[in-house]
Symmetry: C2
Subunit: 137 residues, 2 copies
DNA sequence: CTTGTAGCTCTAGTTGCTAGAGGTGTTACG
DNA sequence: CGTAACACCTCTAGCAACTAGAGCTACAAG
């Protein structure tokens, strides 16, 4: 059995975050010691690693909850799990696209300032005047 | 003079968000009508467009506040404005890099599921088992 | 003059944590 | 066996950047 601190070190999830996941129902309420401290099993460590990995991939707590429900019913079709992963992939791709557009605009803004006073500053002017932008956002 | 609703339509910033920006000190407290309703000038519309543009680019409220302070002092050197834009550019690039790594992992996860029950599902297994990952995150 | 839309303030909720206060449990050393 | 150091407990509040709702008032058109 692991203490919460050991579990934290094993998984890289901070202690208050573990308690928060318990509160949110992602982790089952842990067994307790005589003195009311949480004690964790290997399975619970695996569950937490799963959660951590999914969070790193940007899945919401809600999505993770669904995946956990799914994995508790191994006989069900896995189309739902597939869908969650695909939706996440779409979301990530959309974010990348959006950020790339921002990148090119910021690049333009940040490298074009040749005045040395704010009144001539391209950064300020570009932010004030949307028309200097090359595309919509 | 514009009402808050007109200002909202002109700039694409929602009404409660405009009031929130006022509260946060990004917008000066607006002039009021007899009946205590906010009335805005052209300059205030420009200011709000500036804020909106900067927010779209991912700048924090804090960063925007600094830029507004800068633009109120046109005689100052614009190195600070440059720095804010460059920092934002760095942050955006870092995010893109991270998201690309996630994209390739999700791609792998979302396209590899050939079982049709959860017990064989690659999505679930990949999330449970970090070793299936190609790189660290 | 009335009706409908738009505005007002204030409070609380969202997501995914993180920090702090104030108290208790556990363990290692002497 | 006592005590010091550290880990753990619960609870509340805070973060960013809004968003939603309640309960009220203002304004413009017909």
């Amino acid at each position: 059995m692991l203490t919460i601190g050991e579990l934290s070190r094993q998984t890289g999830v901070k202690i208050p975050t573990i308690r928060y996941y318990e509160q949110m129902g992602l982790m089952d309420a842990a067994e307790r010691s005589e003195g009311n401290q949480r004690r964790y099993t290997r399975e619970e460590q695996d569950r937490l690693s799963f959660i951590r990995h999914a969070r790193d991939l940007g899945l919401t707590i809600e999505a993770i909850r669904k995946l956990i429900d799914l994995s508790a019913h191994p006989e069900r079709p896995c189309a739902d799990a597939d869908r969650i992963a695909s939706e996440q992939l779409q979301a990530v791709r959309a974010k990348i696209e959006k950020l790339k557009r921002l990148e090119s605009e910021l690049e333009r803004i940040a490298t074009h300032c040749h005045g040395d006073q704010v009144k001539d500053c391209y950064v300020i002017r570009a932010l004030a005047n949307h028309e200097l932008c090359e595309h919509e956002h």
